[in-house]
């Protein structure tokens, strides 16, 4: 068993870290303060291929697979969690839905500009009344004159305000519901999508989240992703992949928090403060290190499974669940150790603290992750739990 990453991934990681530290590092604080997406930095990132790392080169990607993608998310989160949300929504779910089930023609037309970063994607699943319970969506698509007409409102859509392309889930046969009556579409902004309320957020403020409203939006029949009626399957497969990278993003954030803790302890020691010598602090450092090291193993193993076409859904749930909780723990430990400095809005920890909370919520709350992991395990011994 060879657990070393091929050398191209080292260089890929260094390039991503360079882009993040040089382009996003200097602007992240102001972008958060003003709740503005740093588009100049995003353009540089797009030019370096950061918006298409996992996808094949024939569709404008880097061909670095899921392994490259977890490296990307880990490195982004070290510097700017809001950017991790922008990229995660773009690659991890919006473009990924096209990649997992789209036809070659559809991929050429839509995945390519997404992977090149010339167009930004958003993933439209959540609705009022259909959050973690995705099967309860109400957005309706009706076939008329060889086209689909979509009506409905999606909420909490990451990248919504500035996306050019939307992967959308809509009900095409209410009688069948989630089991054969839901279809995935790719919708262009120019087809008539509207942006509703833009959320004001506690964290990930330099990413934009809004309602996306479909009011008689006409979509060509060719824009169906995968097969008509099987959209729920497409979206669930996509979310499985997304969970791995929530874990990867959490890994980057947690690692950065641990590094900040250790550096602070070192500084405090040199300043003459009795911090590193407190066993309480040592325990925090040791626990965090252990959790992060196990998380790293889990995230990279799962990415390896994805790249080798092995079933990975349960591992992905673990990545998302443990990753988000370890990251929250890491920043709250860091806050504790940094004392008042941690609360300063001029020090990056305060932003990391606000940003960390979302990872436990989006892409299925951690409660849902727990229920699914348990259900899956119990099913193996014959205990079926109905939703």
């Amino acid at each position: 068993m060879d657990m070393t990453l091929p050398k191209e991934y080292d260089l890929l990681r260094r390039m991503i870290r360079d882009v993040m530290e040089n382009e996003f590092g200097p602007v992240a604080e102001e972008a958060d303060e003003k709740a503005e997406v740093p588009f100049d930095a995003i353009n540089v990132a797009a030019k370096a291929g950061l918006f298409g790392i996992p996808f094949p080169q024939e569709y404008g990607g880097s061909g670095a697979g899921e392994t490259g993608y977890v490296i990307l998310m880990e490195e982004i989160s070290r510097v700017d969690s809001a950017m991790a949300t922008v990229v995660g929504a773009h690659i991890g779910i919006a473009a990924m839905a096209l990649y997992v089930d789209g036809s070659h023609a559809l991929k050429e037309k839509y995945l390519t500009p997404l992977a090149q970063g010339t167009k930004i994607g958003a993933f439209c699943l959540t609705e009022p009344g259909a959050g973690s319970d995705a099967a309860a969506i109400k957005t309706r698509a009706v076939r008329t004159n060889g086209k689909w007409v979509i009506n409905g409102t999606k909420i909490y859509i990451s990248n919504g305000p500035f996306a050019d392309l939307f992967s959308v889930l809509a009900v095409t046969d209410p009688a069948l519901g989630a089991r054969g009556g839901v279809t995935a579409f790719v919708v262009e902004k120019e087809m008539g999508t509207k942006i509703g309320v833009v959320e004001k957020k506690l964290g990930i403020r330099a990413s934009a989240t809004s309602e996306v409203i479909f009011d008689e939006v006409e979509v060509p029949a060719a824009n169906v992703i995968g097969q008509e009626g099987l959209g729920f399957v497409t979206f669930m497969k996509t979310l499985d992949l997304g969970r791995v990278t929530v874990g990867a993003a959490s890994l980057g954030g947690a690692q950065k928090a641990l590094e900040m803790i250790i550096d602070y302890a070192r500084l405090a020691d040199r300043y003459g403060m009795n911090l590193a010598h407190q066993q309480q602090v040592q325990f925090m450092i040791a626990d965090l290190y252990s959790w992060i090291d196990m998380l790293r193993g889990q995230v990279y193993r799962t990415a390896w499974m994805v790249d080798n076409h092995l079933p990975f859904a349960r591992e992905a749930y673990v990545c998302k669940l443990m990753g988000s909780e370890i990251a929250s723990k890491a920043v709250s430990y860091a806050m504790e150790i940094h004392g008042a400095l941690g609360l300063s809005r001029d020090y990056p920890l305060e932003r990391a603290f606000r940003d960390a909370r979302i990872a436990e919520i989006f892409e299925g709350t951690n409660e849902i992750q727990r229920i699914i992991i348990a259900r899956d395990l119990l099913k193996e011994v014959g205990v079926h739990i109905e939703p």
Binding site: L11, M15, D18, A48, G49, L50, S62, A64
Partner: protein, 260 residues
Amino acid sequence: MRIVVCIKQILDPDTIKISRSQQAIDDRGARKIMNPPDRWALDAALRFKEADPSIEVIAISVGEPQVEDVLREALALGCDRAILISDAYVVKARAAGLAQIVAAAIKRLRNVQLVMTGHMAMDTGSGTLGPRVAIELGDWQVLLNADKLSLEGNHITGLQHADEKYYESSYPLPAVATIVQTPTHPRYAHGAEIINAYRTRNVEIWSSLALGIDPSALPAPTTGRQLRLPPARQMGFMLEGTPQEATQALVAMLKERRVI
């Protein structure tokens, strides 16, 4: 025409540690990187190529086989070719001999009009490779320690920093240019090019014999060297006396430590 960029792999100065007990540099765990000024030089060469696609940019390095990694990075950044001169003899070459080896490779390539490199290596470099290579190539002009380069007609022009003043100077090709780092970050490699640099592209390996160099004729290193560490910092030294006495003692101590 061809532009050759000379690239050195160095230990990242930010990742080396000092061992006082051993009076040595502790480079275990140090990262190997492309010498940063060389990266700026490469960036300038690639900008010339963007403006004139007929220009071919070739990266050259000399050293152990693992130096290949910086050449793959050069390929990822956009070089057309990368050449590693590596054999048991060249890895021992220093200064004068190194310049002879690099110049031999440049002559072998033909139609090279411009040689670019960083103004110095940030590890233990002397900053002399550029001017030395220029001599070996037959007394080429040297644009030293420059930035804001432009290539117009048959001239290389750049901003030079000399004696706290800045000059714009221009030299006819063929020439050697050494480049300083500026706060403007050089280009980033595209993710796909990074993957391809390892999976589909090739670093050419040349040997001194193939270049027609007689290794025994290379100048031998002519210096003995040892390492010395700056004295450990002693914190909290208080200077007493009148303001005049204290500040005079301070200036003397700062001079002694070569800080001023």
